[in-house]
Subunit: 137 residues, 2 copies
Amino acid sequence: MHVRQLAKMLGVSPDTVRYYTRIGLLEPQKSIENGYKFYSPNEQNRLRFILSARDLSFSVDDIKQIFHKADEGESPCPTVRRLIDNRLHETEQRFQDTLRLRARMHTAVENWGGKPDKKPSGNVICHLIDEFTKTPE
Amino acid sequence: MHVRQLAKMLGVSPDTVRYYTRIGLLEPQKSIENGYKFYSPNEQNRLRFILSARDLSFSVDDIKQIFHKADEGESPCPTVRRLIDNRLHETEQRFQDTLRLRARMHTAVENWGGKPDKKPSGNVICHLIDEFTKTPE
DNA sequence: GTAAACCTGTGAGTTAGACACAGGTCAATC
DNA sequence: GATTGACCTGTGTCTAACTCACAGGTTTAC
């Protein structure tokens, strides 16, 4: 199975598959006559796993670690449990940040609704942004 | 005012100031004897504006556009209103994505609590991840 | 045989900075 | 005046997770 076919089967772009291959997460065989890469059922399964892990926000480097454990025959589960703990904290942080940002943006847009456009003057570049910063509420 | 002093004054890292300078958002004068960059009060004001815009999720490229308008003497406000509309959509999207991700991760961790570690076998790399994907609820 | 459509791998570009590093500057000491 | 050490500078390179550009190989239709 070549790159485009595999990508289509699992619903990702060929470039994504090429990327995972480039960094060593996938190790397809190289056709001698073609130079084209050939993905075996085992590689297909690995890609499926990568996508599942990605959906839980595991990073590519995390997945490398998981594969490393598994390739040595050890259980990757402790690693997985440890890693998701970090990812969970990150996600929580990002969630809170995004929540605050969203509120700030909504306030700004609302705030700007009744204000006119103005030309820049002196040290005011855009009075919407400048004034909003000074009165965050 | 040199880079470190300016950075400290506005609470960012010198590298951040250098970055904005490198991409042309700031245009300090270059000392002839030193080669060191000198930031005038006007540049200080520009940096303050950049940070305000950044806090509303405007991208560096957005800010470039805003500066471009303002430098031509036109009102950047219409640009600002148009741009924040895009950023608001992005933020909303990111918020929803993060919300879903967070829920998925919580479900996974809960789910894994009662499950043992297992060694990889056949085409199962980590049963926690593999099985969770198959039963998302 | 040839033309067009399609596919490939590799190299480079993307964001918003962080980090490494060779060298310049300045005050304090000898 | 020379020298040490602390501090500062600009520039080049690196990051994550891909995406895009591109030169060239392959396959199919005529």
